[in-house]
């Protein structure tokens, strides 16, 4: 019997019920890295999604769905643009808003997004997550 494939929004809702959902845990080292990054100055929180699970740790739970959608769109755009302009493997994409900055990347198969104030040091975060 074939399983119905879950849409992204279903996954977001699923992840949005409790603030942190843990199924089959994503690579522990990535989670450890993200937990450390979250202590950095200006970091608001993060979202991590693997094929089997999602975890969200954000200070403001009202933003979970919006941030999750933006994160997914940014990573999709990153893949499409790297293909379109032949930029090799995509390393990261940073979207800077007027108040908040989002840094997204795929690390060890996990789609991660870190949300931070504009003053936060993205270079340090990338180095910690071994993306740079």
């Amino acid at each position: 019997m074939s399983k119905k494939k879950k849409g992204f929004h279903d996954q977001v809702v699923e992840a949005a019920q409790p603030i942190a959902v843990e199924g089959t845990t994503p690579a522990n080292s990535v989670r450890e890295g993200l937990d450390e990054v979250k202590t950095y100055e200006g970091v608001i929180g993060y979202i991590i999604r693997s094929t089997a699970s999602a975890a969200i740790d954000l200070k403001d739970p009202t933003k979970i769905v919006d941030y999750a959608i933006l994160s997914s769109l940014a990573l999709d755009a990153c893949r499409e643009l790297t293909e379109l302009f032949d930029l090799g493997d995509a390393k990261s994409i940073a979207v800077e808003g007027k108040d908040v900055k989002m840094l997204s990347a795929v690390v060890d198969g996990n789609r991660i997004s870190i949300f931070m104030d504009k003053t936060a040091d993205t270079g340090r975060i990338l180095r910690r997550l071994h993306v740079a």
């Binding site: 755009a77 643009l81 940073a94 800077e96 108040d99 908040v100």
Partner: protein, 276 residues
Amino acid sequence: MNDEVCAFALKNTLNEIQNICPDIKNAFIFKEDGEVIAGDANTPEETIVRALNALDGIFDKADSINGVEGITLEGNKGRVIVSCMNDLYLATVTSGKADMKYVDTVIRVLIPTVLKLAKEFNPTSLKNNPTPSRTESDLKPGFSTYKSSEPEEEPAEESLVERPGQPLEPEIKPEAPLPDPPVNQLIAENLGGLLVPSDTVRVDNDTLSQWAELYEGRKIEEVEVETFDGKTARCKVRLIKEKKYEGKGIVQMPEKVQLVLEIKKGELVRVKPVVE
């Protein structure tokens, strides 16, 4: 300096930027609603449309971070940088070995200078086009360009004022002039089948609704399709039937129309409604 001249100046500036900084592979300028203002000579318009289509979702959902001020994408072999300059966005694609400080200095000096000059020559340039908002038209990737600079006509609500001593006569109001037809940039797609008329193209519901809204319910029966080589064809227009083409910025056209226009599937054309 009108919009076309300004766009020409920006295009030349982008080309010059590439001359002095060869590590910039592609550069183009666009508005938040997806309207392309100018692109360098090396970047085909179709590539720009595809890039904007990829970025469309981010711009659409950026309310949660209060709009987009910049995007930086890092790849193994290069990067894409989108910078906000006033109400415009400049996208540059650089090679991996590019000196980013130099690139940043060049683009942050030259483009704002040209924009400032354009504004000084004509303060309304690049700003007075009443482009429809993304939510209204949701054009993907058919970016609409309104060439009309006339303000929208207010609904005529002039009441008949009684003047003492004068009999009340109904005034004959002149018909409000129709706005200039919007130009949609759409990607040509094949339209085949036994019962398909050879003089009819198909566009999606978003485009037809946008036109209907602009012309207050007038049914648009015909469109003018123009290629970037200047070839034009006037065709009847109908709604796209296949759901998969909805919202994709596609214009389906039969082989005969493609032959007349000397284009093939995948090429970009300009489509505008014919209102008589």
